[in-house]
Structures are given as structure tokens and as C-alpha cells.
């Protein structure tokens, strides 16, 4: 700053305008596609496909009504919720103990396991999808929701363990020691002392797993073949085939899917960030 007398952290009016201007533009860019989809979902089909620019045109809820009553959309929502919830419960349950062990004990194999978690992030869908597909086929699980849960665990478990490790790292070890002195074994310490303290961490990991499963496309496209068993990520593609896509229904269902996800997101995001960064930096 040119004037040394200015209060620390203060800035000139020009800088202020530039700062707020940039942030406002960025916020508008972030917001606009969402608003546009919401607006489009309220238009009748012919207005969605019109080349004339209009923010609001003949507003109607007919698209929502159609999607909710005439299509398999509600079914897909149920499927997605089932798959995502199952992945969440199983994934969180098994990764919590691992995160705890990685955070507290220096056991042989610990470093390797941490490295493996990183490496698994590199595995492309393409290399795993076929073998997992053939395994599922052999077990007779193709075209079942169970196959998706199993496949999503491969994505969720390494990352969740990593996040849990970050959370447990931030919980003071003196609590563990106190519990040990009072006669708690390692499992009891984990279950009675540490896990309850990590409740926000559990919430966030659960949320992350849920969203991963909620939005997955590749496995769902490859494993599921019957309309009534689609999850949302695949089902939505049915609205917009190459010929005669029906964007009005797509936008309506997009809004319906986003509302619950968005609401939950805002409760979790603050923790999500701190969990992510602490896990990442204390590696």
C-alpha cells in the first residue's frame, strides 16, 4: 500500500471495489448455472427448446408432476438412497477402526498401508471395472444394487480411512492414556472414548461416502440393466438420449435431486474442509 499510515488490513476504496467486484462476479458465475436450470425446469417443453432468450416463460410445475408420476424417477431415487445408505454405513463402520489404528499405533505395515491408500486413488475405473464385473457376474450379482454397493466401497474405504486418520490425529492422545490407566483396553478406548468425540468426523465421512455413491455414473452404467433398478446417475441419462432429448424433464429432476443434497451439504461442508486438510497435511 502506498500510504504507510493506513490501518493494518485496511484498503483504499478502489481496492475495495475491485475486491468486491471480483467476488460478486465469481459468485454470479458459481450461481448462474444452478439458477438457469431451476428456471428452465419451470418452463414448458417448447419454451425450454426455444432459441429465444427468456428467464421466465409460462411458468408451470408440469415437468415436476410428469417426472414424479409418469416416469421411474421416484424408483431411481429409492434405489440411489438404498445404495448410498448401504455404502455409507458399511464404509464408515470399517474405515473408522482403520483410521484409529493408523492414527494411534505405530505398527509394522502402517506406512505401507498409508501409501496404498494414496495409490488406490490412482486406480482408474477402467482397470477395476472389468474384473469387478466378472466377479459380480460369477456371484450372480450383476444387475443388482448389491453389486453397486460393493463397487462403491472400493472408492469410499481408502479415502474414508484417510479422513478418519486426520480426525483422530486432532483428538488429544492424553484422553487415550487416561482411559488406559483406568483399565480400558484399546478397543474399549476406541469405542467409548475416541469414537464419541469424533462424531463430527463421522458425520462428514458418512456424508462424503453418501455423495460419492449418490453421484457415481460408470459402475452404474456398466452393472445395471433394468429400468427399475437404475440409480439416478444412470437413470437421468434416459431423459436425454441422442435423439429427441427431453431437457424439461431432466432439469426438473436435477432440481429435485439437488435440493436434499444441497441442504445436507451446507451442514457438513465446514467440517468436510477441516477434515480434508488435517488429513492431508498431517500425513
Amino acid at each position: 500500500m502506498s500510504t504507510p499510515v493506513r490501518r493494518r488490513g485496511g484498503r483504499g476504496p478502489l481496492a475495495s471495489i475491485a475486491l468486491h467486484g471480483t467476488l460478486i462476479v465469481a459468485s454470479l458465475i458459481a450461481l448462474f448455472p444452478i439458477v438457469w436450470v431451476v428456471l428452465s425446469s419451470l418452463k414448458p417443453g417448447y419454451a425450454v427448446q426455444s432459441t429465444e432468450l427468456a428467464l421466465v416463460k409460462d411458468p408451470t410445475l408440469a415437468n415436476y408432476e410428469y417426472v414424479l408420476t409418469e416416469t421411474n424417477f421416484p424408483r431411481w431415487v429409492v434405489n440411489s438412497v438404498l445404495v448410498a445408505a448401504a455404502t455409507m454405513v458399511i464404509g464408515v463402520f470399517i474405515s473408522a477402526t482403520t483410521g484409529y489404528a493408523l492414527s494411534r499405533f505405530n505398527f509394522p505395515g502402517r506406512r505401507q498401508l498409508l501409501l496404498i491408500f494414496l495409490v488406490t486413488q490412482m486406480f482408474p475405473v477402467a482397470v477395476l471395472i472389468v474384473p469387478i464385473y466378472t466377479i459380480m457376474a460369477r456371484l450372480g450379482l450383476i444387475n443388482t444394487l448389491g453389486s453397486l454397493v460393493i463397487a462403491y466401497l472400493t472408492i469410499a474405504v481408502p479415502f474414508c480411512s484417510w479422513m478418519f486418520k486426520g480426525y483422530f490425529d486432532s483428538i488429544d492422545t492424553s484422553l487415550d492414556e487416561a482411559a488406559a490407566i483406568d483399565g480400558c483396553g484399546p478397543f474399549a478406548t476406541f469405542w467409548r472414548i475416541v469414537l464419541p468425540l469424533a462424531r463430527p468426523g463421522i458425520a462428514v465421512t458418512a456424508f462424503y461416502t453418501f455423495l460419492t455413491a449418490w453421484g457415481e455414473v460408470a459402475y452404474a452404467t456398466a452393472f445395471i440393466q433394468t429400468d427399475s433398478r437404475f440409480t439416478l446417475g444412470y437413470g437421468l441419462q434416459q431423459f436425454v438420449p441422442a435423439f429427441n432429448p427431453q431437457w424439461e424433464y431432466l432439469t426438473a429432476s436435477a432440481v429435485l435431486i439437488t435440493i436434499p443434497a444441497g441442504v445436507v451439504f451446507f451442514f457438513a461442508q465446514r467440517h468436510l474442509v477441516s477434515g480434508l486438510t488435517s488429513g492431508a497435511t498431517k500425513g
Binding site: 482403520t98 471395472i129 453421484g215 446417475g233
Partner: protein, 317 residues
């Protein structure tokens, strides 16, 4: 006896990691091993049966070995893929590099810029923060559809606006460059919030005294940014850039849903190209595995170099 002591000391730690190790072994490493093996065979949907069974009139099953069963073919798949006989490996590889580089650079720079602004004291910070994180709250596939909708060549928002101000509408999906651009724009929009928030988290761990000391020494805001903020973000940055690169490299849904590789598969990245090559028409499992192994090798080489570069700068990680 040593073994015994070892076991006594560590059994509970091992017990705690056992379920995850089991999941990793069964669902990642076994499939990985099998995937590598499949890439050396010619397995497709058509020749996957090892035996062909026919039911005779009496109800007995008569099984004979399938004469066309899949077999070991050595490195044939790799030769086919790398020579471009099946799919367009080099085109897709180039696209993947452009895609990954453009996305990660934009994510990081925009994220860093926004995080720096949000890290200052300013009015309405909470509101800006919430608005800027919004794209993260929408499931990725929904956003992908939304952007494809906006890039629609006939009635999409962008072309309507372009013709509205008297310019020619762009046939976004007719050329692989513009087609890729649509996907990159979508993904930048999607990915900036994560970067921003991760970097903001990192910035908040930098002690304020460092900034005060720099200010007393007469450092300009730019100098403070370069000499205090950036070094303070080192560990967060290296992690998010590494993870961001890997995730973007393997990001399936955006390319698959936004531009669908248009035109004629030229703007596919390796992951989606492999998926399409393998799962459309007769499913070619061995081909998909070959691509998968190649992708994995590229990423492994990349991360080894990345780590080495970090180590040179004295980062232990």
C-alpha cells in the same frame, strides 16, 4: 519367541485394520491382478465361456470345451492399442494431458485467488463463501447435465446469447477443441470450490504473527503473498495438486456426460475412451483392461516423479 512378542504388541492394531485390508485385497488388489492378467488375453463377451453346455433331450447336460474360448495372447493388446488399431490411444492421451493440465491449473489458480480474497477481513465474507461453494453442493452428474444443456447447439444458453448479440452461434460439439473446451469449463466450475476451500483451510493455519512481522519489515502485499502465504501453503498445495491431478486424469462423469467424446470420440480422455471401447457393442474386457493398465502406469510414473521433485525441495512425505 520374538514373533510371539510382536504379535502381543500389535495384534489389536492389526485387528483394527483387518476389515479394510480385506476389502482392499478382495475388491482392489485381486481385481487389479486379474485386470493385468486379462490385458494379456483376448477375452470379450463373446468368448468368455470356457465350456459350452447343451442340454440333451433326457435332461442331461453335455459340456464341451469352447473351441473359441479366450486365450493368452501376450502383448498383442498393447501393440494394438499403442499402434491405434483399436481406439485412438495417442489422440486420447493428448486430450487427457490437455484436459488434466488445463483443469488443474485453472482449479488451483482460481481457487488460490478466491481463497486469498476470502481470507481478508471484508464485509459479506460468509455470504460470498457460501455462494462460491455452491457448485460443490450439486451432485457432479447433475452439473454435467446442466452444462451440456447450456451448451446445446440449438437452444443452449451460450448460443442464444451469442446470436442475441449478433455473433454466429458456435457448433460446440462439431470440433474436438471446442468440444473439449465445454468439458473443461464445466469441470473448472465444478472443481474450483474444493480447491478454494482446501487452500482457505491451509491459509487459516498460517500464524498471523508472520504477516505482522512481514508488514513491520515493510513487505508489500504482493511480497507478503509470495513470501508468507505461498510457503505456508506448501504442504496443502502439494497434496491437493497431486490428488487433483489424479482425480482429473481419471474423471469419468464430466467427459462422458457433457460432450460424450463428440465428435466421433475425438475428445475422449483415456478413461472414457477405454470405457466406450470396452462397453459398447460386444464388450471387450481385455481391451478395457489394457487401457486400464496403461492409465495406471502413467499415473504411477507421474506420482513417482512428483514425489521425487518434492523430495528435492526437502519435503518428506
Amino acid at each position: 519367541m520374538r514373533l510371539r512378542r510382536f504379535w502381543d504388541r500389535y495384534w489389536y492394531a492389526w485387528a483394527m485394520v483387518a476389515p479394510v485390508v480385506a476389502v482392499l485385497a478382495v475388491l482392489i488388489f485381486y481385481p487389479l491382478g486379474r485386470g493385468i492378467w486379462l490385458s494379456f488375453t483376448n477375452l470379450t463377451e463373446a468368448n468368455q465361456l470356457e465350456e459350452i453346455c447343451t442340454r440333451s433331450i433326457t435332461g442331461e447336460e453335455d459340456c464341451q470345451p469352447n473351441p473359441n474360448a479366450y486365450e493368452f495372447v501376450g502383448v498383442d493388446n498393447y501393440i494394438h492399442v499403442l499402434r491405434g488399431d483399436v481406439g485412438e490411444f495417442w489422440q486420447w492421451f493428448g486430450v487427457t494431458l490437455i484436459w488434466t493440465f488445463a483443469c488443474v491449473v485453472c482449479h488451483y489458480l482460481i481457487g488460490l485467488g478466491l481463497a486469498t480474497m476470502l481470507n481478508r477481513r471484508l464485509r459479506g465474507r460468509g455470504l460470498y463463501r457460501v455462494l462460491l461453494i455452491l457448485p460443490w453442493a450439486v451432485p457432479a452428474f447433475v452439473s454435467a447435465f446442466a452444462w451440456r444443456f447450456m451448451f446445446n447447439e440449438r437452444f443452449g444458453l451460450f448460443n442464444v446469447v451469442l446470436s442475441g448479440i449478433g455473433l454466429d452461434p458456435v457448433a460446440w460439439f462439431a470440433d474436438w477443441r471446442t468440444s473439449l473446451l465445454t468439458a473443461i469449463l464445466t469441470n473448472v466450475w465444478l472443481g474450483v470450490p474444493f480447491m478454494m476451500v482446501a487452500l482457505l483451510g491451509g491459509m487459516q493455519t498460517i500464524p498471523a504473527e508472520l504477516y505482522e512481522a512481514a508488514e513491520i519489515d515493510g513487505a508489500t502485499p504482493w511480497q507478503r503473498f509470495v513470501n508468507v502465504t505461498l510457503p505456508g501453503l506448501r504442504s496443502v498445495s502439494t497434496t491437493v495438486i497431486l490428488l487433483g491431478t489424479i482425480w482429473t486424469f481419471n474423471l469419468f462423469s464430466v467427459i462422458y456426460l457433457v460432450n460424450a467424446g463428440a465428435p466421433a470420440g475425438q475428445s475422449e480422455i483415456l478413461v472414457t475412451g477405454a470405457f466406450r471401447a470396452a462397453f459398447q457393442g460386444i464388450r471387450n474386457y481385455s481391451l478395457a483392461s489394457t487401457y486400464g493398465v496403461l492409465i495406471l502406469s502413467i499415473l504411477l510414473v507421474y506420482s513417482v516423479f512428483y514425489r521425487r521433485a518434492l523430495r528435492k525441495h526437502g519435503e518428506v512425505w
